[in-house]
Symmetry: C2
Subunit: 232 residues, 2 copies
């Protein structure tokens, strides 16, 4: 992490994910380098890396832009996540330890307690829920014990909208998500790979449906692009 290249990469990634950089924004090498107090070389490396992960698109001799997501992109990405995370759940079911299952159960339970739609949090405060959810999925992928799978999923990009996603969840959809989590835990504890895979696929495809509906309602794709906005 002390490497400048990694710092630039992390900064750009965070900036894109939390909306500091809006869709289509130009990422000039000189500009970014000046902002982060480094030279163009590490910036170039970070941009190529982000490009291979799909977060930015790099055009030859024309620089990099923050990737714009179409409905089809969302659909394809979540279809891939459905089969890949399903595979991860199936693999995990065959080898996961009781300790890890307990951790997952705890995460699933905690997610309910921080769900704003259930009155445990101020309405709209989905930050903790999103973080717990990300960890839940990461633990399962880790329990699958496949570096290749983990790397492939990591390359599939956390959507820039992750946090905003939950805003479009109806209370019913959130309840279904919680139910899926608990069911996945049960399937893993039972060591039932086919069950775990099936529920995980349903879980991701349900998320896809919410996301697509949400995206469809976004007539004005206005990203919050406060140029000087600072987030932790």
């Amino acid at each position: 992490m002390s490497q400048a290249s990694d710092r630039v990469y992390a900064a750009l990634r965070a900036g894109i994910l939390d909306g500091r950089y809006g869709f289509g924004d130009r990422l000039g090498e000189i500009e970014v380098a000046a902002d982060l107090g480094t030279s163009r070389t590490p910036v170039r490396e970070a941009l190529r890396r982000l490009g291979s992960e799909g977060l930015v698109e790099v055009l030859p001799n024309r620089g990099a832009r923050v990737r714009t997501w179409t409905a089809q992109d969302l659909e394809e990405t979540y279809e891939l996540r459905a089969v890949l995370e399903g595979l991860g759940a199936r693999r995990a079911a065959g080898q996961v330890t009781a300790e890890v299952v307990d951790e997952l159960a705890a995460l699933a339970a905690e997610m309910v307690t921080v769900d704003p739609s259930l009155g445990h949090r101020p309405p709209g405060d989905f930050a903790d829920l999103a973080a717990l959810n990300a960890r839940f999925h990461a633990v399962i992928v880790g329990a699958a014990g496949s570096d290749r799978l983990a790397a492939t999923l990591a390359g599939l990009v956390q959507l820039p909208l992750v946090m905003r996603t939950y805003h479009r969840y109806t209370p019913a959809a959130l309840a279904r998500s919680h139910a899926h989590h608990h069911e996945i835990v049960d399937a893993l504890r039972a060591g039932d790979g086919a069950w775990a895979e099936s529920v995980m696929r349903s879980h991701v495809l349900a998320a896809r449906a919410v996301l697509l509906a949400s995206h469809r309602d976004d007539a004005s794709g206005s990203a919050a692009t406060d140029p000087e906005g600072q987030a932790s």
Copy 2:
């Protein structure tokens, strides 16, 4: 392609795939740059790109080496290919045109005609078969119409041993492979996504079994490392 960076990338990739660079070989920036008549900058870019695709491993401050494949790597990679190419076949079944199906049928038929185990070629001449097979799979992925899926599969790396793989196929395994190809064509022509997906998964998993058996027999992992060897 006129870009130096792309030329270096292509040269290194080809060199690794055809065995000119052996497993574990060190890829020093200066050395590669001198070999290809360029400077270190494009070499660095190419190495990072190959690293993100899994063909080489880059250690911080310690340079890049050609990735060594373990049995588990093979297993994980083919497990991923099985689900991803299965997904591709399912998607393709829903939208493929008759022309593309005809092309696939022609490829499947031609593969039989160039199969050395059937006496149509000198024994051991699997080059054409491998090329046709690669094209067959590429056409299906293309027909799936998902850029994300295509990119993910491309990142999953053509194994360095692709060509040598066929050498370990028994005539029965080759016959099964041909049968799978024809069955996939039939499933696509019928527009039956579930069928196409299932056969494709079987096809890839069968290849995995052959590869793992082959890898197990490789007591001496001697890669043909003729340092000055030139292939096409």
